[in-house]
């Protein structure tokens, strides 16, 4: 049962990350493989604020802003210009890989390769329903619930959210119906970037110690969660993150924990091979 608790935390962090990742794909059709590098850079900004005597929860806002601004810039100055050239989607993915190298190893060149940790306290341990969760983990869970609630509210009840969904479903039709798609895409990258920054910071909090390349493997979990729920589907991403988060941690209790990503990997390959549009999606959504 304790692995269920771990799984919940992993799923919470993954849900925040995957919703951002899938939103970027939804509005711009880009598989942003540089996502992990933006996450870890955001975590480092939080870390630097934190060691300069900013409390962790305030410093986290710095990480969120970093993620938002970096992602916005990536879309505005790199992905959009490349897409305007009408290249094959794969070209933009290769560009994203290049950005990932620059982001990850540029950071490593600056901060070195030693592990760092936030000044944070794990807080009291709480036992319930067989799970052991500490205060920090409870806060992460709460944060996740609030953020996902906000995303739900945004998508369902605001004009901006509706415009996002319209842009995602059919950009040309949305533009012809009076949606300012460029503005919507920019805003989506800002919001999804904020999620990315938040995810990076809570990911680092949850792992305890981290360094510049810590998030490199995270893309496996992200992709698995996204494809499970259907690429470009925020609610699918939440579902996918829950399944992937729980299954990796619970399987870790029974097999060698070193192999826990294998579940995610098998899920991803299975989805790609048999249902690349997700469990709930249909082929038309691609």
């Amino acid at each position: 049962m304790s692995s269920f608790g771990f799984g919940l935390i992993t799923a919470a962090v993954l849900a925040i990350a995957t919703v951002g990742f899938t939103m970027q794909f939804a509005v711009t059709n880009v598989l942003n493989l540089a996502y992990g590098s933006v996450m870890i850079n955001s975590a480092y900004v939080t870390y630097y604020l934190n060691i300069h005597h900013v409390t962790i929860w305030l410093a986290l806002i710095g990480g969120v802003i970093t993620g938002a601004v970096t992602s916005w810039c990536l879309n505005r100055f790199i992905f959009t210009p490349f897409q305007r050239r009408n290249l094959a989607p794969i070209t933009v993915v290769i560009v994203a890989l290049g950005v990932d190298l620059i982001g990850t190893f540029g950071l490593q060149a600056v901060v070195g390769s030693s592990y760092v940790a936030f000044h944070q306290t794990a807080g009291h341990e709480y036992h319930f329903a067989g799970m052991i969760l500490n205060g920090l983990q409870l806060i992460i869970l709460g944060l996740c619930a609030v953020v996902l609630g906000l995303i739900h509210w945004l998508l369902k009840y605001t004009r901006l959210g509706k415009a996002m969904r319209a842009t995602s479903a059919n950009p040309n039709l949305a533009r012809n119906s009076g949606v300012k798609t460029q503005f919507i895409i920019s805003t989506t990258w800002l919001i999804s970037g904020a999620l990315c920054g938040l995810a990076g910071t809570v990911f680092a909090m949850n792992t305890g110690v981290f360094e510049a390349t810590s998030a490199q493997l995270y893309i496996v979990l992200l992709l698995a969660a996204m494809f499970l729920g259907g690429p470009g589907e925020p609610y699918g991403a939440m579902f996918g993150a829950l399944i992937i988060g729980l299954s990796t941690e619970i399987s870790a209790a029974y097999i060698n924990p070193q192999y826990k990503e294998v579940i995610a990997f098998l899920v991803l390959l299975g989805m790609l091979a048999f249902r690349p549009y997700g469990i709930f999606g249909s082929e038309k959504t691609l």
Partner: protein, 612 residues
């Protein structure tokens, strides 16, 4: 001191050969066939491991058993290298399902990337298989029975062997890519759905590319491990593939010499030059900056010089001097002026291999209860139609009536949700689209669908079915085997080209043509696929009315020669002039069928058009 330089030189030779071979193989996959193998490094690693454990003694007996690994067959050279190439080809097979027909190229690519990441982790964590993170070491040197591996002579021999094999790989790949098969690969790269609709078996082509490229990658790994005598997960991180992609982007995708140049410039020169940077306090700084530089190289080259230093070269098939080729992009304004050439002299019966049978107007293509549902929304509902042989049947209907979807189900581009399609007496409902095309049921597309980086003539020739050089084995047999047939095919395509008045554009990249010209290329290409039934999806869209009527005349003539056409079109004047009968679709169902004159008298048809 001099010997030290000589040893260094041999190292450079071997690394240069290994990197070149890897880049040639990846360029074959990515630059020629459009298969973005983001997991390429898996194949090089598999080759290295395979060569290592095939040549090493049993793990328990080697060096006091300090390392664990499987096999250990102690095979003499060249068996480990051959075994490595076979392993490289074999492990490509499970990935074929990823790069098969249906999956988007970038999705398949991330699947391969993640496979590379995970396999590396697994090999690292599971020690008994290949000695985990420490890797296998003390791999026997391949020719140590004849020469002392420490000697300079041995080193030069090794470098020489590596270079000879690389040259062999170069010529082999060139033989493959400069054949009709290579043309089909490039067509698939430029537009896979269209290549499929012309009868190319995408899954088989991609499988072939993965297997051959994988075998070559594995061989390069085998050569490397024989030289450095150790191999560990640290040497084949997923990012190593990105370095090879960077090399190909810099050198020039789709150009074999570009791949070699890229291999020399990026993995080789770049790594060697940075080796001379004096060490600094932070040991990860230099490697980190190297990765940053690779990332920058990719982005800057893709932006400023997307075709690389040595761009893919154009194939001049027409025999005209390159200087005579019209290469400036045509403009859409010029479309009104396009004149068909001596098209009236074309003998379609002969050109399209239609045989001598007279038109009998039997039902050649029909559907029963054809239905398509997307996500619960029914787009085409219970459509039953019959197409008669030798007639030019039209299909009209308001936007969203399901015309294109129906046509796609006829051609097999989309699977039907229910209902049947019968062609020439056979139920083809479950036949894949490329097989339908091979059986003579060929379609065109509503959106421009030319193979952009094939010349106009290549676009046409690529569609001709049953070319003896259009298979991997056929391409290996060389030009002596397929050359004369290909020459005849080119002449046949030129004849069609002349008929449609585009001879001067024979060697122009199809992507540089005007909208109207591209339409013509597409129709000509479909004709060269030797259709019995041609399905045209709005062939006149964006075409100047004068030209549209000239094309219509020719379509009529083709039907008189024994071909059957089903044409989806918006332009009613075209329907009036050429099509009989005409099928009216509205909201996914057949509303009426008849001549245009009859249809105009029926109020429900007029209403559907006016309201829709």
């Amino acid at each position: 001191m001099l010997t030290a330089y000589a040893f260094y030189l041999t190292t450079i030779l071997v690394y240069g050969a290994v990197d070149s071979m890897a880049c040639l193989a990846l360029n074959y996959q990515f630059g020629f066939a459009g298969v973005s193998n983001f997991g390429f490094i898996i194949f090089q690693a598999a080759g290295a491991y395979a060569a290592a454990i095939l040549s090493m003694p049993r793990a328990a007996t080697s060096n006091g058993g300090f390392q664990q690994y499987v096999l250990g067959w102690n095979l003499p050279w060249p068996l480990p290298w051959i075994g490595a190439a076979i392993v490289g080809g074999l492990i490509a097979l499970p990935f074929v399902f990823l790069v098969g027909k249906r999956l988007r190229g970038d999705f398949a690519a991330v699947g391969l990337l993640v496979s590379a990441v995970l396999l590396n982790e697994l090999v690292k964590d599971y020690v008994p298989f290949l000695n985990g993170a420490a890797g296998v070491s003390i791999v026997p040197a391949p020719f140590q029975s004849k020469w002392n591996p420490q000697g300079l002579g041995y080193q030069f021999v090794y470098g020489g062997v590596a270079i000879v094999i690389t040259i062999g790989v170069y010529y082999l790949l060139r033989r493959v890519t400069e054949s009709p098969y290579g043309r089909s690969l490039r067509a698939m790269r430029d537009n896979d759905i269209v290549a499929d609709s012309l009868g190319k078996n995408l899954r088989r082509q991609r499988a072939g590319v993965l297997v051959l490229g994988g075998a070559m990658a594995a061989l390069s790994g085998a050569i490397l491990v024989g030289f450095i005598s150790l191999w560990a997960p640290g040497a084949w991180g997923y990012a190593e593939t990105i370095v090879l992609f960077a090399a190909i982007i810099v050198g020039g995708a789709g150009n074999h010499k570009g791949a070699i140049l890229g291999a020399i410039l990026v993995p080789l020169a770049f790594e060697e030059i940075t080796r001379f940077i004096p060490p600094v306090a932070n040991p990860t700084l230099i490697p980190a900056l190297q990765w940053v530089a690779i990332g920058l190289l990719i982005i800057l080259f893709l932006w400023f010089r997307p075709n690389g230093i040595l761009p893919e070269r154009r194939r001049f098939l027409s025999g005209a001097a390159p200087a005579d080729v019209v290469s400036e992009p045509a403009t859409n304004e010029g479309d009104a002026l396009i004149k068909l050439g001596n098209v009236d002299q074309l003998n379609f019966r002969e050109l399209l291999r239609l045989g001598d049978t007279a038109n009998d107007h039997r039902v050649i293509l029909s559907t029963k209860g054809l239905t398509k549902t997307f996500n619960g929304v029914t787009v085409v509902s219970d459509v039953s139609i019959e197409i008669q042989q030798g007639r030019l049947t039209g299909m009209i209907g308001p936007n969203g009536a399901g015309k294109s979807t129906t046509l796609a189900m006829l051609a097999g581009t989309l699977p039907a949700s229910s209902g049947t399609v019968t062609y020439d007496g056979q139920d083809i409902t479950n036949l894949s689209s490329f097989k339908r095309a091979q059986a003579g049921l060929v379609r065109t597309f509503q959106l421009a669908s030319e193979f952009k980086k094939l010349t106009v003539l290549e676009n046409l020739v690529s569609a001709i079915p049953k070319q003896s050089g259009d298979s991997f084995v056929g391409s290996l047999r060389g030009k002596r085997y397929w050359g004369s047939e290909d020459k005849a095919n080119i002449e046949r395509a030129q004849e069609v080209l002349e008929g449609f008045g585009l001879t001067q554009y024979a060697d122009t990249y199809a992507g540089g043509l005007s909208g109207g010209q591209r339409r013509l290329v597409e129709i000509m290409r479909a004709l060269l696929a030797e259709p019995k039934v041609l399905l045209l999806d709005e062939p006149m869209a964006g075409v100047h009315p004068n030209l549209a009527h000239k094309i219509g005349d020719q379509l009529t003539k083709m039907c008189e020669s024994g071909m059957t056409i089903l044409m989806v079109e918006h332009e009613l004047s075209i329907m009036d002039a050429f099509c009989d009968p005409v099928i009216v679709l509205a909201e996914g169902t057949v509303l009426a069928t008849g001549t245009m004159a009859e249809l105009r008298k029926r109020p429900e048809v007029v209403e559907a058009y006016l309201v829709g």
